[in-house]
């Protein structure tokens, strides 16, 4: 199992890194799916097969499909890759690097000072426990999540629908402002 974890981790790290340096969106998306799948593998090693399944089905499946649709709708040409290359400049990495280092320092410090509790719980929580917890103490959360999803649904529907009517109006306003 250890080997599986480290291998999956290596795949996840590498594929994720490739996601953010890709020039082509579709390639990046494929690497992202790879990253998500490796995450699913890690979940399995961490005793959460149910969640791993969700990860594969919903994340790598449904959500990524959305991206694919959008990319298709946008119908980006070949020039977009060149533009991406143009946008990527070496200097842009400096700020995020500093942030990353800061956060790294935090993590190292935390790991260094926090008391080491070795070992794991005897038994991992299975889908059953998760289900009980979800519809027990986290019921409110579930309800809220459903509301959130509904809101997302309504929101995306609204945004997608009114695009055509709003466009000229917005353009005018934008031109008139001249700011």
């Amino acid at each position: 199992m250890e080997g599986v974890f480290y291998m999956a981790a290596a795949v996840a790290v590498i594929s994720t890194a490739l996601v953010i340096v890709q020039m082509n969106v579709v390639h990046a998306l494929l690497y992202l799916i790879l990253s998500l799948l490796s995450a699913a593998v890690i979940f399995v090693t961490l005793g959460a097969p149910f969640v791993a399944a969700l990860e594969v089905i919903i994340y790598a499946g449904a959500i990524m499909i959305l991206f694919v649709f959008v990319i298709m709708m946008l119908n980006l040409g070949t020039q977009s890759a060149g533009m991406e290359r143009q946008w990527m400049r070496a200097g842009m990495w400096a700020g995020p690097a500093v942030l990353a280092l800061l956060l790294l320092a935090d993590v190292i410090y935390m790991l260094a000072v926090s008391p080491r509790v070795s070992g794991y719980a005897a038994k991992a929580a299975g889908p059953r426990e998760v289900g009980i917890a979800l519809f027990g103490p986290y019921l409110i959360g579930v309800e809220l999540a459903s509301v959130l999803l509904l809101a997302g649904l309504v929101g995306s529907f609204h945004l997608g629908r009114s695009v055509r009517q709003r466009l000229p109006e917005e353009g005018e306003a934008g031109g008139g402002e001249g700011d």
């Binding site: 700020g95 942030l99 956060l103 320092a105 935090d106 410090y109 935390m110």
Partner: protein, 630 residues
């Protein structure tokens, strides 16, 4: 008879009201109202005087309470008229001289478009002056005091179109207000220490509660003196009076010669009890008087403007009165006040006749030979000049000034020096006034006479000339064997001056000396300005002569000093601070918050990634803090 007293000040006020409300519709009738009200007031004053003399009220004091002015706790000054022999003299001087000058103005101001306004102010002045001299308490006196100051301001700036007249008017009001403020503080001090502002009660209380020479009367006297200095244009507050000549000539005659400027003398005489108890301050009064009379007499010597000569002369003559007050010769001071009112008003009115005759010419060196062209003005002016120069025996000035000099001589403190200053001043007086007479009325005519004085100008001139002669006969020196009627009349008000040591012979000697001195002055003036003017011109051309002349001409540099030390800095500061330095604090706060506002709004770039970066940075910092603070 005496109960008519309230009408004396009320009539001029009524005249003022009528003129202020309806004056512009009255036309020439305004003069009748203005002059008439003062004339009636003078008649009532004479009636009251007759009543006062024929059947004197108990203790020779008559009071008439009109209404309660203020009554707060123990502070209850009323509108209370108070008549004793001193205020009676003042009332007569004010109303009679005032009436004559009003009459004069009726013709003098005829062509002016502010005819009714002029009479309104003049009536207000006479009313205020009467309140001043009749006031039974110091607060009411202060009302009159400020009222006359106001009228002085209004009338100096009467020809308001010229900015310099306005400047002179403001200067007069502000400078006198400095003195008035000292007086106001004096009132606070007196009330809180003596518990009343009623003059009579106050004097009794002062005599009862204060010890002569202690700090209380000294402070009180010093503060009162401050007021008197401002109003009477004495050192160091004398600078306003020469500039005050910007007003119409009748105004100079009435306010700046005969009545208002002598109010300080009246005030000190009124509060003589306090001054007697304050020897240091009283001596200061004498010294200030002596210094003022010398300084301004010297300045009068070199002026070109006929009215400025007379203005400096007025300051100088009031210096004499202060000298008299300072040596305790109260009745001498009042006597000189009265005679001075006659002859100085006469001189001013004469000068006014000359000025209007020459179509507004003020420069004496452009006048000349007017003796033949304006004989009435000449003779009257000459009478006034003789009286001012104190030519012996026939003039009023001789008797009043002689009495002052004699009293100064008798003074126990630096008597000789005070007398010497007085006698030197007398010499200068006689020189400068006859310089004026010789330059203006003798020699060759230089400017054509355009206007002869009419009857309304001539009558006051002659009347005042008459008074300038006979006014002195009421109080003759002892060696003439005539009773000193005037001093006796005032005896009920003033303590009898210490007369023990000297003999009539001394007095005779002193009078002789002063007579000689004044005649010598006339001769000097004749020699330098008529017979051999080249000498005086030669003298003025030498370097020290020129410097001295300039220095004296500018009134000993006081104006310059005040301008540099007080007026300019104040004006500069006010201008510099126009936008209020304190507001800068708040402007700074506002600017700082606006600065931060701009800074923050700059951070709103509209770039999502920037927001995300800042968000991340903030989160990282928060986490770091949380980690480190654990």
């Amino acid at each position: 008879m005496l109960s008519l007293l309230w009408l004396v000040p009320a009539l001029p006020f009524a005249g003022f009201l009528a003129l202020a409300l309806f004056g512009r519709r009255m036309g020439a009738f305004a003069a009748a109202v203005g002059t008439g009200s003062v004339g009636l007031s003078a008649l009532f004053a004479l009636a009251v005087a007759a009543g006062f003399i024929s059947s004197p009220p108990p203790a020779r004091i008559y009071t008439q309470s009109l209404w309660d002015w203020i009554n707060v706790g123990g502070f209850k000054p009323g509108i209370l008229l108070y008549l004793d022999s001193l205020s009676l003299v003042m009332v007569l001087v004010v109303t009679v001289v005032g009436f004559l000058i009003h009459l004069y103005s009726a013709e003098f101001m005829e062509a002016d478009d502010g005819y009714s306004r002029f009479f309104a102010y003049m009536n207000l002045f006479v009313g205020s002056m009467l309140v001043l001299v009749l006031a039974g308490n110091l607060l009411l006196l202060y009302l009159g005091w400020e009222g006359v100051g106001l009228c002085s301001y209004l009338l100096i700036g009467f020809w308001y179109r010229q900015p310099e007249n306005g400047a002179a008017a403001i200067k007069a009001f502000v400078v006198t207000r400095i003195g008035d403020t000292a007086l106001a503080i004096g009132l606070f001090f007196l009330f809180l220490n003596l518990g009343t502002l009623d003059i009579q009660k106050m004097m009794n209380m002062a005599a009862l509660r204060w010890q002569a020479g202690s700090a209380y009367p000294e402070i009180a006297a010093a503060l009162i003196l401050g007021g008197a200095l401002g109003k009477s244009a004495q050192l160091p507050l004398q600078t306003w009076l020469p500039d005050a000549m910007a007003g119409p000539t009748p105004v100079s005659a009435l306010i700046h010669a005969a009545t208002m400027v002598t109010a300080g003398v009246y005030l000190i005489a009124r509060t003589n009890v306090i001054f007697t108890m304050a020897p240091a301050v009283q001596f200061a009064v004498a010294v200030i008087g002596a210094a003022t009379l010398l300084l301004s007499a010297a300045s009068a010597l070199v002026q070109h403007d006929i009215k400025r000569v007379l203005a400096y002369s007025t300051i100088s003559q009031i210096g004499y009165m202060f000298l008299a007050l300072g040596v305790g010769a109260w009745s001498a001071a009042i006597f000189h006040l009265m005679t001075h009112a006659f002859f100085k008003a006469l001189l001013f009115l004469g000068a006014g006749a000359v000025i209007s005759g020459l179509d507004g010419e003020h420069d004496i060196f452009k006048m000349g030979g007017l003796r033949r062209q304006m004989p009435v003005a000449f003779w009257c002016f000459l009478t006034g000049a003789c009286s001012l120069a104190a030519l012996p025996l026939v003039t009023a000035g001789f008797y009043s000034k002689g009495l002052i000099l004699f009293s100064a001589w008798q003074s126990r403190r630096a008597g000789f020096w005070l007398w010497a200053a007085g006698i030197a001043g007398a010499l200068l007086t006689s020189i400068y006034i006859f310089r004026l007479v010789f330059i203006v009325f003798f020699g060759k005519p230089k400017t054509a006479v355009v206007k002869k004085p009419g009857p309304r100008i001539v009558i006051p001139l002659v009347a005042l000339a008459f008074l300038s002669i006979v006014g002195g006969f009421v109080n003759m020196p002892a060696f003439f064997g005539v009773k000193d009627v005037f001093s006796r009349f005032l005896e009920s008000v003033f303590p009898v001056p210490p007369q023990a040591a000297s003999l009539p012979e001394t007095e005779l000697l002193l009078e002789t000396v002063s007579a000689i001195v004044s005649l010598a002055g006339v001769y000097v003036a004749y020699f330098f300005f008529l017979a051999a003017p080249e000498y005086s011109e030669e003298m003025a051309r030498t370097a020290p002569g020129r410097a001295l002349g300039k220095f004296w001409f500018s009134g000993w540099g006081f104006d310059w000093l005040y301008e540099k030390a007080l007026v300019s800095p104040y004006r500069w500061f006010a201008r510099a601070n126009r936008n209020d330095a304190v507001d800068l604090i708040y402007s700074f706060i506002a600017a700082a918050s606006r600065f931060f506002h701009y800074g923050l709004s700059l951070s709103q770039t509209g770039k999502v990634r920037f927001y995300a970066a800042v968000l991340a940075l903030g989160a990282v910092i928060t986490i770091t803090i949380a980690v480190l603070a654990r």
